[in-house]
Structures are given as structure tokens and as C-alpha cells.
Amino acid sequence: MMINSTIHSFKLPPYLHATTPAEVTRNQRSDVRLMTLHGDSGAWDHHTFEDIIDLLQPNDLLILNTSRTIPSSLRTVDGAEVRLSRKIDEQVWEVLILEKRLNESTTLYFDDGISASIVGPGMAPELTLIEFSIGGEGLMHFFYNHGQPITYEYIDSPWQLSHYQTVYSHQPGSVEMNSAGRAFSHKMLKQLKDKGVQIAYVCLHTGLSYYENNRWPDPLRHFEWFSVGADTVEHIYKTKKGGHRVVAVGTTVVRALESAYDPKAGLQPQEGLTNVYIKKDTTLKVVDGLITGFHEPEASHLDMLCAFVQEKKLIEAYQAAINEQYLWHEFGDLNLIWKRTYA
């Protein structure tokens, strides 16, 4: 499902696809650009990413997603690609099987004598549930020994798994990188702390963001596991009470935090699955600012951005980003969006 909206209709020129990690073409991960966008006025400014140190204030709270990318693209012995989407239990995963002919078979065969049986449909029509012949640690070893990072068609080199990690990630489980935080280096995080910016963590394991062949996840059928701990909840209350801002690094963090918000009880420590769909009529309860990449026209992430800034202003800013040749996708440039004030 995709809402019919102008924000989904802009054209992204092919030369704005970022194909290479910044530390490869330049020097550091942080050598990317940052566009700031103010939700109330719709005004934008151009910065380098390291300017974030000046743009955040002491006692602002930066919230990072600790989820770490696992190697999620597997090949059967026949060469068909199987992409992990979500862990169901120790042996069962929801996956995207890219070759149609395999949908007619009930068993997938991998290296090392590992196989997987198709046991049912996934939450979305494009996805399938498969049960591997092994589980637990053994299955994880298989993923790490034989899996590769998922790469989309705009990537022309096989980058290593380490290129698909943020420097602070440590809970394995995402099938795609939480790319908004990719540009942070340990040095920048230290500089932010030295300035007095606070840091807290949530975990949300990402599912697949794209099903190929112009098929995109329906947010309402897109379940992801998340965890918001008591320490982070306490940190957020303290930040809000002090009149400071909560800044999410990535749409995954927004999804986790807003999922943990209870209309009656307020923000609560919580973990479980979420299919919350944040869109333009959603009133954000927790997050004041968002650092995120630039999203493709079809991505539902754009609907979430419309909860921060009016759609008309967002499309104007995106057009400015295109004119200024900001780069898109996981290795691209970044956008800091300050939430509009709700009436």
C-alpha cells in the first residue's frame, strides 16, 4: 500500500545514487553533507555532517539504534538469491526469494548441507516463511560464513559487511544497515559528549526496505522487532523536563520510540514487534528532530518525514537537495529535520 501523494512523485536523477562509502572516496565516514530542514518555516541550510556538533546543544539527547547488520543475502546451491527479512524463531525466518522458479519448490538447498523448507507465506505477499535445517548458533555461523550484505542495483562494488555497520552497533539482527548513523565516527561521538550532548540507545532490527521489481513494503504489514529500555525512557523524560530536544538518528529510532509511547501511560520501556505507520497526520510524541538519509520517491519513509514537516515544504526541500546534488541511499548525504510545532 502506498498513499497517493506528491512527495512520492519526484524524480531522482541516477547520478545522485551514492555508490561508494565516504571513507573510500574521501577520508572519513563523516565526510558527507548535511542539509538541515526546519519543520515550521520549511527553510533549509547546507552544512557538512561534522557541523552537527555545532547544531546540537548541550543536554540535547541523541538516540542511536544499536542494531548491527547481519549478512542477509544468501545463495542457494543453484545460485538463487534468498534475502533474510525477519527472524521468527531459532530456525524460521521470513525471507524474500528472488527467483520465482524456487517458489514452486518446497526445499531450498544451500552450501554446507544446509537446507530450508518453505513453510508458509510471510506477512507481505512478497515474503515467504522458511524453516532452516539447523537453528541457533549453527545457523548464525552459516549466515556469517556464506552470507553477504544485501546490495541494491545502484551499488556497483561488493562492499564488505563492515561498510554496512554504524560504529556504535552491537546487537546483531538488522538485515539492512541503519544508515542514518553511518556517518558518525567515534571521534564525533566523543566531541558531542564533550560538548554536553547526551546519548541514549534503542534497538530496532530492520527488515527489508525494498522487494525489488518496484515492490515496496506496506508499512502496516512491515513488522520489526524493537526494544526501548528503562534507561533511555528515563533519559528522555529528563531531557523533555529540562526543555531540551530528543533527536532520533534514523527513522528506525523514531519508529521504536513512537511505538513505545502509550497514549495513557506515556513513554514506557517496551520491547516486541511494531508495525506502527508514522505519516503526515501522526502527532509525534517523543521525537523533536530526526537525522536521516535522503529517501527514494517510492519509500514509505517519506510518509514519516511528513509528520515532521508539511509535505509541500518537504518536496521543496527535496527539490533543493536534488539541485544541490546531495547523494541518496545508505552511503549518501544526510538530512537533519526539526519537527514542526503542532497547533
Partner: protein, 243 residues
């Protein structure tokens, strides 16, 4: 009973690594161990189970960063955290050999293995430790890492590098809650020592003795350890210094 810690040990199939794993298993800790030899690793894993501890055992070469990612990620996935990393794995290379006679390939292999492995391992466990603002990373060094003795070859050079690695990291990590510690275990009765000193005619400590001596450095969170270098013999005789 002490708090359950997750302790990760590289090169745990023999020598000091094995002795540490078995000693700490007796304290009912959760262990993550790796080694290149599957059969020897399996034996240690079974012994740890017999002692009542939980263990993740991975066949891994920690000078290979793909193996490091797999070993650490599976441990984090299983136990949720790593409290202590013991960078124990290292290779000696050829027995007593003048540097002038040292085979080029062996020199490269020893240097690469002994320097990249603690770098990869430390870098990989840091994110979790920094998020929790606590953790200990202990690397096993040697007297030949501060004094050059003839015929200890690339091993000695690599331990000098390890000492430098630890010093830089200790400075960068001060005030983070993560502690970088070096321990010189002294000369022990191990296979590596037989390679280094084939005609040894003096008494040596056993790895088990050294493992017991290191317990306080590994487990005591009250000490301020960052940037410290201990000699195991001092720990046996006096307990750790904090000066």
C-alpha cells in the same frame, strides 16, 4: 556467587588461553572462546560444560576480520554483551632465529597475525562496551615487548607493537569506563615456550598458576586499570598494584 560475566578469550585451545577458560568456567561465568583448531577447541568446550559454565565456542582465526565479526556477533547474539575480552591469541613463528636469518614470509605472518588480531578484536567489542560504559580489554604481552632479546624475532617485534596499540587505546578510552590492560604472564610451560626456548633448563610457571593469578585483574571492577601493565609474577606474590 560472583556476578555472571561474559568473558571472551581468543586462542583458548591451549596454553594460557585454555587455562584461563577452564579456571573462569569454574567460577560459573559465561565464556566465549575461539581457536583455529576445531578438535582442541571442542575439548575445551566440553570441559567448560562439565564445569557448569555456558560457552560459545567458535573455530576462528582472529587475524581474519570476517572471523572476528562472526565470533563476536554470535557471542553478542547469544549472551547479549561482552564484559571482558582477553586478547590471548598469538603466534610465535620460527624458533630461535636471528632477525637477519628470519624468513620474510614468516616475519610478515607473525607481525600481521599478532598485531591485526588484537586490533580487530578490540575494535569489534568496543561498541557494546562503550554503550554500557564498562568493560575490560586485557591483552597478553611479554617481557620481549619491552626488551629486545636476540632470536625472539618477529614475536618480540609484534609484542612491542601490541604495547603501543594498548597505550594509544588506553589514552583514547580514558573516562569512557572501558579499561585497556596489559599483562605479561612471564615464562610458562607451554608449547610456544618450547619453540622459543627449546633447551630451557630452569623452572617455569604453569598456565594454571598464571590463570589463577590473573583472576583479580579479569574480574575485579573496583580497580582502576586503564593503561596499566601487570606482571603475573607480581600478582602471584602481592596482588595487583594500583599505583
Amino acid at each position: 556467587m560472583q556476578q555472571q560475566k561474559v568473558i571472551m578469550i581468543t586462542g583458548a585451545s591451549k596454553g594460557l588461553g585454555k587455562a584461563l577458560a577452564l579456571h573462569l568456567a569454574g567460577k560459573v561465568h559465561k565464556l566465549a572462546i575461539c581457536a583455529r583448531n576445531e578438535e582442541e577447541l571442542k575439548q575445551v568446550e566440553n570441559e567448560i560444560h562439565r564445569r557448569g559454565a555456558k560457552v560459545v565456542a567458535a573455530v576462528a582465526d582472529v587475524s581474519n576480520k570476517k572471523d572476528v565479526e562472526r565470533f563476536v556477533s554470535i557471542t553478542e547474539n547469544t549472551f547479549g554483551k561482552i564484559d571482558v575480552l582477553i586478547n590471548n591469541a598469538s603466534v610465535f613463528g620460527p624458533g630461535p632465529t636471528y632477525l637477519a636469518d628470519y624468513p620474510d614470509e614468516a616475519f610478515e605472518d607473525v607481525i600481521l597475525s599478532n598485531i591485526t588480531n588484537p586490533f580487530y578484536m578490540t575494535k569489534r567489542v568496543l561498541p557494546g562496551m562503550l554503550a554500557r560504559q564498562r568493560g575490560t580489554i586485557l591483552s597478553i604481552t611479554s617481557e620481549v615487548g619491552i626488551t629486545g632479546y636476540a632470536e625472539w624475532g618477529a614475536y618480540s617485534v609484534s609484542k612491542y607493537a601490541l604495547e603501543g596499540l594498548a597505550a594509544v587505546w588506553a589514552d583514547e578510552l580514558k573516562d569512557t569506563g572501558v579499561q585497556i590492560v596489559l599483562v605479561d604472564p612471564g615464562e610458562m610451560d607451554t608449547i610456544m615456550h618450547k619453540i622459543a626456548v627449546p633447551d630451557c633448563n630452569y623452572s617455569l610457571s604453569s598456565p594454571a598458576q598464571i590463570a589463577r593469578a590473573l583472576q583479580s585483574v579479569v574480574l575485579d571492577e573496583t580497580m582502576s586499570l586503564n593503561g596499566k601493565r601487570f606482571e603475573a609474577q607480581d600478582l602471584i606474590e602481592e596482588g595487583p598494584h594500583d599505583d
